[in-house]
């Protein structure tokens, strides 16, 4: 399918991009990989008179360590993240997730930042990023702010990013010592029907769990009732409480029938995947992996 006509802009500096955004307003959209935007434009779901390519802006490049965080520039593709030695070493669970997004062509072109800004609910990254405590850095060219992933995505295709703001980087804290993570997803299409991320940490002699659900609802959701039930339970006692609590937590999630499955099917999946994610994170933590994000 052909694209409707638009004018293409290729800034090489962030300030230039902000000027273009200010000048064209709603007439323009920024993009990097285009894996989601161009599909929507081909389908005439979205229409813009101007596209602003962010790929040639060097300031959005790179994956680096900044203190206790890994900073991922906005133009980094899923493939680039999946194959980055720093991410593979310090955040291996996230590297594995990146290596499993859609297919290799989408991973090569598509960016994490674009995935988050598009906010299609059936996406892998948000749930695990929420468990990891990641945040996004937004800037309008004059002022910058940081927003936790959990607060960034408001609803389907909706984020708190203002029209004049760019997502310039994703920041992921380094995992605590004696913590481990797991992401479990399932779907019969390339996008996940449901994805569950779990974290397990040994803190002050006790055990603490984090569990978030992605894809099933219109935004990532913390399974806080499940977290409360699991709090303090050592990994070898998990099976006393986890199965029933995970099924209850899955059934409590907001879901609706769609192409990925019926609501009750996805709620069932969420319960099953929550058990697997928590057990995998706990087993990995117990096995003595000191850093496993």
């Amino acid at each position: 399918m052909l694209l409707p006509p638009f004018t293409h802009h290729r800034p090489t500096e962030l300030a230039e991009a902000h000027d273009l955004i200010a000048h064209f307003g709603d007439e323009a959209s920024v993009y990097a990989g285009g894996t989601e935007l161009l599909l929507a434009m081909k389908a005439r779901v979205l229409r813009y008179a101007h596209l602003i390519d962010l790929k040639r802006i060097a300031a959005l490049d790179g994956i680096r360590r900044d203190g206790d965080e890994i900073v991922i520039g906005a133009r980094m593709s899923h493939h680039r993240i999946a194959t980055d030695p720093l991410v593979q070493k310090l955040l291996p669970t996230y590297a594995a997730l990146s290596n499993n997004v859609a297919n290799i062509r989408v991973r090569v072109a598509g960016t994490l930042a674009g995935n988050l800004c598009f906010a299609e609910p059936h996406a892998d990254p948000p749930a695990l990023l929420a468990v990891l405590g990641a945040s996004v850095e937004l800037s309008n060219g004059e002022t910058a702010r940081r927003v936790p992933i959990a607060d960034f995505i408001e609803a389907e295709f909706t984020t708190v990013r203002e029209p004049d703001e760019l997502l310039v980087a994703v920041r992921i804290p380094l995992p605590l010592p004696r913590s481990a993570y797991s992401y479990q997803s399932f779907g019969h299409l390339e996008r996940p029907a449901v994805g569950i991320a779990a974290g397990c940490a040994r803190q002050d002699g006790g055990w603490r769990y984090r569990v978030w659900a992605g894809a099933i609802s219109d935004r990532p959701t913390c399974l806080d009732d499940l977290e409360a039930v699991l709090a303090g339970v050592p990994p070898h006692d998990l099976m006393d409480v986890l199965p029933a609590a995970a099924i209850t937590a899955g059934a409590s999630l907001a879901a609706h029938d769609d192409i990925h499955g019926s609501a009750d099917y996805k709620q069932h999946l969420a319960g099953v995947l929550a058990q697997r994610a928590v057990r995998t994170a706990a087993d990995t933590c117990l096995a003595g992996e000191t850093v496993h994000g």
């Binding site: 052909l2 006509p5 293409h8 161009l38 390519d53 790929k55 062509r105 090569v108 390339e190």
Partner: protein
């Protein structure tokens, strides 16, 4: 002139199958249309048009992308490899030859994408496991072979 109201035309330079070319494209032209229509490289196939099937796979700087959802202006300054660029004269590439030797095709429509994706896989991982082969090629859909012959062809190169 009517052109004054048209979006800009861009000049792009690409290394296409090893040959540097400069051409004019519209800012909204998709790479697949430039390859197939302007350059008559019909080996790149259009099928799903939504980045799922892999028939339109080309390599950009050695890595697979869906040319159906890539702007032509976005490959400016980069190398593009299509299926027409793999053989050296009458000499098939080793991946192409392996597909022939193992009868890893029937209708052939998915084959250019399969061969290019395999070429990229082996360039980045010379000895992939069967699981790695399956994972890398899972985004290329074949509706004839059942994949067994394709897997055999790829495994013969490891």
């Amino acid at each position: 002139m009517a052109e004054a109201n048209l979006p800009e035309t861009a000049r792009i330079t690409i290394s296409l199958n090893g040959i540097e070319i400069t051409l004019s494209v519209q800012s909204f032209d998709l790479l697949i249309d430039v390859l197939r229509n302007a350059l008559s490289l019909k080996g790149t196939k259009r099928s799903c048009d939504v980045e799922v099937c892999g028939a339109c796979t080309v390599l950009v700087d050695g890595l697979p992308v869906s040319s159906c959802t890539t702007l032509a202006v976005d490959v400016d300054g980069r190398s593009v490899t299509t299926i027409e660029g793999l053989a050296a004269g009458d000499q098939l590439s080793r991946v192409q030859q392996a597909f022939v030797d193992h009868a890893a095709l029937q209708c052939g429509f998915c084959t250019p994408g399969m061969v290019l994706a395999t070429t990229a896989l082996l360039a980045t991982n010379a000895a992939p496991s069967e699981a790695e082969i399956r994972h890398f090629l899972s985004g290329n859909i074949c509706r004839c072979t059942g994949y067994v012959k394709i897997l055999e062809a790829v495994k013969s190169l490891v």
